[in-house]
């Protein structure tokens, strides 16, 4: 059993598990942090961005004025943003049989894997994962295609040149494999390969293994996966949460008794407690609005935003913000808000029960109804006519490189009354803000990451007791910024097996058993005999049939009835004679008793030699050797058949026949 690790990002994993005869890809997360190296894509022409100076190396030898621009001491690539894909060279992607998706954030690389690679397998995901994943992909494509960029920068990627570049660009990894965003066509084609599954549904893969999604509590339809054969169980835990937010709670008990547990997607903000952050978010928001400023919340169009809106729903009354408008701007804003209300079966119990009243499970329905929350596909169109300030705007993309958020950054960045509140933990806020410097706007970092923290995960692992744990190497040491926090790492016995990008791990357990079925007819014919109290054995003669990774013992086919015609001469080749099986022997030959027996039969000159496995008896007069070993007895004599038979019978006296 082997694990190929194609992504080094702990929360956007992409691993391939080879288990029995199957090749299973676990998630295909897309590392979008690469876009931070690029200049933002403004929706309307931005004089500031277009006037940025090009970059020329200090000695003037390298001139990349067209490709690289300088802003506030940092260099950015002026091109359409590109993403860092999962590793493609480690393994032939066309050999992948299935892809298991755990949540919609972890499937953004799907089109890169399934399209143009020869992939012919199936993708398994839950319905909300598919639908919301589609929304996020659509949004991404829309953001990119809305602002087409004529040129595409490639020169900076040459290794010799990249080495000489300043700052973070120099240290960017695998730049040659960075790719532009996929097209809508790719998205549709990739998503057409998805087969929907429900929680606890057992899916057979070629009869070899069974995969089952379990609720993971992180987002709508998010799942952990169990991959098991009859005797082995591998759990894949990715992006789980024990907090009571909107999704169905995490199913922990089914993870018990795993041989291997692959652990990914822990919280990226181990020191930030989501509750505290949510409180901080609200108070910063209220403070800004009260002072007459606007609040900008860069966020994904699904996920935490539902919780933010729910929290604000309760808070705005308290804080006297009832008259402040809230805007949600995204190409998929409407679908996202609507979808959340219809996936009732994937919600937590509290919200589920509301549906029976019937009431919308999320309170944002009421916010929309009372006109407190308004959503628009983009800043163009209706929004511009209804826009009132001060207000709160939720919009993407959290990297601040594309999407409507770019416009608001340009619009509000100059006033210190306004505040930008980061809630998504995926991007470093300082890096995200870098191309907008100098910035007067207040910045607040309230990363809300509901995924398991180290305390919760160690409790979980204590409970489910996996034999081995595999995790990204980042989890085996404290975060670099807080090296004194030994509580922010996994401490396990035995220690977890760390992986990094491009690792290939041999998982430390061996398959020892395979289940074989007995057909009823065969079972009927067996005659067990008891050899110990409670243990009976029977000899089986059968034909082993292996098909589709299933093994069955079938009765031996009877020889075909003799042809009725006796005219023909008997064929020379007779059908193989089915002989009655020889009886099986068991037991051991006791040395003393055997020597006595030999003596009785006239063999007196016996030299006994002790060996590692038993004894060698040298019958000197007969020049014969008898090797008595634990699992066999050999009689070596020269062409003296009567003697051999006599000796054999003597040995057999001590053994039991079955």
């Amino acid at each position: 059993m082997k694990l190929y690790c194609l992504s080094g990002h702990p929360t956007l994993p992409c691993n391939v598990l080879k288990f029995k005869s199957t090749t299973i890809m676990l998630d295909c997360g897309l590392d979008t942090t690469s876009v931070l190296q690029f200049l933002p894509l403004p929706l309307v022409h931005s004089p500031r961005l277009s006037k940025l100076p090009g970059w020329v190396s200090k000695d003037g030898t390298i001139n990349l004025e067209k490709e690289l621009k300088e802003c506030a001491g940092r260099v950015f690539v002026d091109s359409q943003p590109e993403f860092c894909l999962p590793e493609k060279e480690l393994l032939d992607l066309s050999t992948i049989d299935v892809i298991l998706i755990s949540n919609y954030h972890c499937m953004m690389a799907l089109p890169y894997i399934t399209e143009h690679t020869g992939f012919t397998g199936t993708v398994y995901a839950t319905e909300p994962t598919l639908q919301i994943g589609r929304l996020l992909m659509e949004e991404l494509v829309n953001f990119m295609e809305r602002v087409p960029k004529a040129q595409s920068a490639t020169c900076w990627k040459y290794k010799e040149i990249q080495r000489l570049l300043p700052g973070p660009l120099k240290d960017a990894v695998e730049v040659s494999t960075w790719k532009r965003c996929y097209s809508m066509q790719d998205v549709n084609s990739a998503l057409s390969k998805v087969q929907l599954v429900g929680y606890s549904q057992k899916v057979e893969l070629f009869g070899a293994v069974q995969v089952t999604p379990l609720s993971s509590g992180y987002s709508l339809g998010s799942s952990n996966w169990i991959i098991q054969s009859h005797y082995e169980k591998v759990s894949y835990v990715s992006g789980s949460s024990l907090l009571t937010t909107h999704p169905q709670p995490m199913d922990q008990s089914s993870l018990k008794n795993s041989d291997v547990l692959i652990l990914t997607g822990l919280t990226q903000m181990p020191t930030a407690n989501p509750d505290g952050m949510l409180g901080d978010f609200c108070s910063n928001l209220a403070m800004t609005i009260r002072a007459g400023g606007n609040v900008l919340v860069p966020c994904y169009s699904s996920g935490v935003i539902y919780d933010l809106l729910e929290c604000l729903y309760q808070f705005i009354e308290n804080a006297n913000l009832g008259s402040t408008p809230f805007y949600f701007i995204s190409p998929v804003a409407n679908s996202s808000l609507e979808f959340s209300q219809i996936f009732a079966e994937w919600l937590c119990h509290n919200k589920q029960s509301k549906v029976y009243l019937p009431e919308p499970p999320f309170p944002h329905a009421e916010l929309i109804q009372t006109n407190k929350l308004k959503h628009y596909p983009s800043i163009h169109g209706d929004f511009s006519s209804e826009f009132r300030q001060p207000c709160v705007v939720f919009t993407g993309h959290p990297s601040l490189r594309f999407g409507d958020v770019v416009h608001f950054m340009e619009l509000w960045g100059k006033s210190s009354l306004n505040t930008i509140i980061f809630t998504e933990p995926d991007f470093s806020y300082l890096d995200a803000l870098a191309p907008y410097q100098p910035l007067a706007m207040k910045c607040v970092y309230c990363p809300i990451d509901t995924r398991l923290n180290f305390h919760q995960v160690s409790k979980l692992l204590k409970e489910v007791q996996p034999l081995h744990v595999v995790c990204p190497e980042q989890y085996t040491q404290p975060p670099p910024a807080q090296s004194h926090r030994s509580d922010l790492m996994l401490e396990l016995q035995p220690p977890p097996m760390p992986y990094r990008r491009c690792s290939v791990l041999g998982l430390p357990f061996r398959r020892r058993y395979e289940r074989i079925q007995l057909l009823p007819e065969l079972a009927k014919s067996l005659v067990p005999s008891e050899i110990k109290p409670g243990i009976s054995i029977a000899t089986v003669s059968a034909v082993l049939q292996s098909k589709d990774n299933k093994h069955t013992l079938q009765p031996v086919p009877k020889p075909p009835p003799l042809p009725p015609s006796k005219k023909r001469k008997r064929v020379v080749e007779e059908p193989p004679e089915v002989l009655a099986p020889k009886p099986l022997l068991s037991g051991a030959v006791p040395l003393e008793a055997f020597l006595a027996m030999l003596h009785k039969h006239g063999i007196t000159e016996v030299k006994v030699e002790e060996t590692a496995d038993g004894h060698i008896l040298h019958l000197q007069a007969e020049d014969t050797l008898i090797q008595l070993e634990e699992d066999g007895t050999h009689i070596v004599c020269d062409d003296n058949e009567p003697l051999r038979t006599a000796l054999r019978d003597l040995v057999l006296r001590f053994l039991m026949k079955l």
């Binding site: 020191t271 930030a272 407690n273 509750d275 505290g276 952050m277 949510l278 409180g279 901080d280 609200c282 108070s283 910063n284 928001l285 209220a286 403070m287 009260r290 929290c311 808070f315 009354e317 308290n318 804080a319 006297n320 309230c446 040491q477 807080q482 004194h484 926090r485 030994s486 509580d487 401490e491 396990l492 016995q493 220690p495």
Partner: protein, 788 residues
Amino acid sequence: MMHHPQAFHFLDQAGLTKPLLQLQTDPSLFVASAANHLLARLLTFKQPATTSHTTQGNGLTVPPNTEEEELAVTMATSPGSGRSVTMEILKHLESSLESDSHTQVLQGLRLLALTLPELEAPLWGSVIRRVLRPLEGLVLEGRGGGVTQPLMDVLLATYRSGPCDSRLVSLMASMLNSQNPSDAALCAAATLRLKTCPPDLRQKAVAVLLGPLQMVTGITLLDRPNDRHADQQIDHRHADQQIDHRHTDQQIDHRHADQQIDHRHTDQQTDQQMDHRQTDEDNRQTDTDQDRQTEGRSSLSLLLDHLNQKPSCISLLCLCVSSTPYITDMESSASVILAVVSLLRICNGHSPSTESKAPIGCSKASTNLIGCSKVQRCGLDSLASLNTCSGAVELVVEVFHVLLQYLQNPDSDPTVLQKTYQAMLRWLSVSAEPSSLADLVNEDLLPVLRKRVCDVRWEVRDSTLEFLGQLCACEALACTVTPILLGALCDQESYVRASAISALARTLPLPLSGLQGEAGNHTQEEAVSQLLDILSQDSEGFARRAVVQFFISWLKTHPSSSSSSSSSSLRSVLSLGSTDLDWEVKVHTLELVDDLMEETLPGHQETELWLVELGVVTALLNGLFDCDRPVALKACSLLLRLRDMVCPRSLGKGAMTTDDATATVAKVTFDLRGQVWEREVTRKLQEKRGSDWVRESREVGCDRLNGNRVSDGTDGAGSEACDRVTGESVCEGSVTVCEVLWSLGLEERRSVLSQSSDHVQNSPLSLLQDILNATHTSHAEEVIVDCY
């Protein structure tokens, strides 16, 4: 019953002591505790009688045999004196302290702790003499496990109640040597709280308490070379280096050994190293000394074990850190403050100290502490009381930084924030030159306070506003803070509104320097009108009470505020406040009236206008006829004062004087129409006037009033009749104040009102009423609960 000698004799004669002693170990805690109390009472009851039989003195000096004999003699001769009871109890006490049963020991100790403070010299001495040996047994033979707290209680009670004894001190010292760090710390904390304490013992206690702090924070607190803990500290430094070293080894090997085993292992190694080093250094060291060293080190590893487990770590550190305010007299009090600051940093997840490069004492322990609000609260409490000790001034900035961290941490518990504010206030007063902190306050503190005012949790908003109010009192921040406070007046939570109002009241004495004349006035007018809205509309009593109190302090700070706007707002407060539904609001309103009278009455020119136009009289009368006794009582006494000041007795009788001022006062009239108490006052007036025509008209008047009530003045005939007969002063609603004041029978009223409501509660009548009520209700269960 034990207040009566007869009861004592009864117990004595009926031989009830034995069963009582048995009940001491009753499985029911209530029974056992009651038995213990009764026994303690028995022991202390007959004390004075015994003095005549024993030698005077502290009792310890008496040779044991003499007293035994004496007691025996007394027992035989005077069976009624209670000697036998005392002896029996004492014998039982002694045997139970020597017993193997945990419960018996525990109960014996509890009895002793109850009794000792009450005992007087001779008996005290004999008790001590009897129990000292078994106590020594408990402490020295280590049988005291699990009873440390009661044992220490007994020792402390002994120490406090009698003369100092060396055996006692050595007992306490050996308690401090306890192998269990929690027990030792418990004893040390108790020792430190003693008023007088031998310096050696105190030093030992300090060492016990600072040891864990030093270990966790890595700040050197104990540096005396010959001290056991100093050795520990060296040890622990070594151990740390060792751990670090091993840690890197682990990283290279990719092997992970169990942390705990690792610790122990390194301890042993270090022990060996230490022994080696020490023998090299000092060959004269005796064996016993080495034994002591090893013992010290084993207690160090015990302490480490203790700190590695979360519950024991937290309770131990809470104890240690709460005791730090008692350790401020030592030279290194600055480092104690640093240690507390460092501990608070650790609790917040920061590395312990920014300055000192000291290694983290015990990484597992600091993991236990992260986010622990219990330790945070204890630490902040201690930090608050450490502000007075020497060296505090130099550390102000350091302390402020950690407090700011707490305020900025979004995960801080509301109770922790509250403590942070308290500590912040205490330390604000420490700073020698306020200007050095001004930047800190303006640039760091105010922004975070602004944010906290918008917090999701109302508790946080509440304590922040309270703090802002207190901050205003010591800093000239009013102009920045007032708008924040005004914004908080519309909070959803009534407690928060109330706190905002109280904080506003605290800003009153400050000149609004930041706001230029009119702007300032404008803000204040706005505030006042907002407050009046709250008083009239708020649904919660807390906010309304706060409003009235705001005006009380307003009156105090703006004594000469006789401008029209201020008097109109005062009028509104009085009329709204005196008719409020909440009795506390009403009482506060009367306090406001009190202050008004205090300020204005003596020699005021326009008393009359003032009395009536501001509505003082109406407010007082509203109070007088209120159904809440405290309100009525307060109003009554105020009215009495008013009457004595404004209307001298002669006026009450209708006689005119020559004094102009008084004369004008006498003529002051007010309108009582439409008031709730109109009928009552009218009746009183009529009674007072007592003349025939009044008596004649009473029926008519009453008719009129009844008519008024029923048909609201439709009975015109009655009204007219009233006018005709009773004269203008009553029926037109205008009466003179003095007349009313004299007619109300205030003295009588006051005497009735000042009887507490208990006289009804405790009377059999009340019980009877309850029973009668009970029979009328159908809810049998409720009745049973009520009766219980």
